[in-house]
Symmetry: C2
Amino acid sequence: MAIAKTNEFTQQEQDLAAFAKVLSHPARIAIMKVLANENACICGKIVEILPLAQSTVSQHLKELKNAGLIKGTVEGPKSCYCINWDAMEKFMQDFNGMFSALQLQKGKSCC
Amino acid sequence: MAIAKTNEFTQQEQDLAAFAKVLSHPARIAIMKVLANENACICGKIVEILPLAQSTVSQHLKELKNAGLIKGTVEGPKSCYCINWDAMEKFMQDFNGMFSALQLQKGKSCC
DNA sequence: ATCATTCATCGTACAAATACGATAAATATT
DNA sequence: AATATTTATCGTATTTGTACGATGAATGAT
């Protein structure tokens, strides 16, 4: 991908982009919906619902967890995942904040 | 990327993911900010501000345009870009709508 | 103790994204 | 007409993302 120039941008830009990136795959959006809807947020249950292999789902779960959008706890041989609501609410707030900041300049546009 | 299973998901999931994907790079977030702040949204001006080559900026602009977040008009040898507010507002509405739908299930979680 | 279940991780294959320089096309300028 | 400016596109190199099967580690069941 060439020598990623990601860190040439502001922290805010990087953070917002990172948040967007986690949600930039339909499988991860679908996982969030499953986690919200199912009482038992067991990995196996998610694998049943998604059209993806177990290892692939596990990978997506890892990314969501690394980004902080979900939490995971071990229950015997099973793994239970849930949405990290505090984090999600903050992320959405920041995301909407950026958009509001853009909108403040709305009249300025030339075209 | 292996044989992308993107279309195994719902249209809504694909659309939301596509929107998130366009904003999943700090350069594209930065471009949106420049377009909102500068009266003259000329490509050259953006190239001056971003730490990227002209061809790379042009590529990012193309992606933003393809996704519908911005509009572009030719002005002689120059190109003028602006935010497509109608589209942006709809995208943000859908994105927030998904989050609200998740939140409705908030109590259900097991962990 | 043996076997089954569940899941994370490893290795691997291939697709897509990012970045740049070079070039081409269009318009402005001289 | 010749030259300069501006930007899109092409070709290419490299990195990252997506996907799967196979394996291993941990726990539960027999």
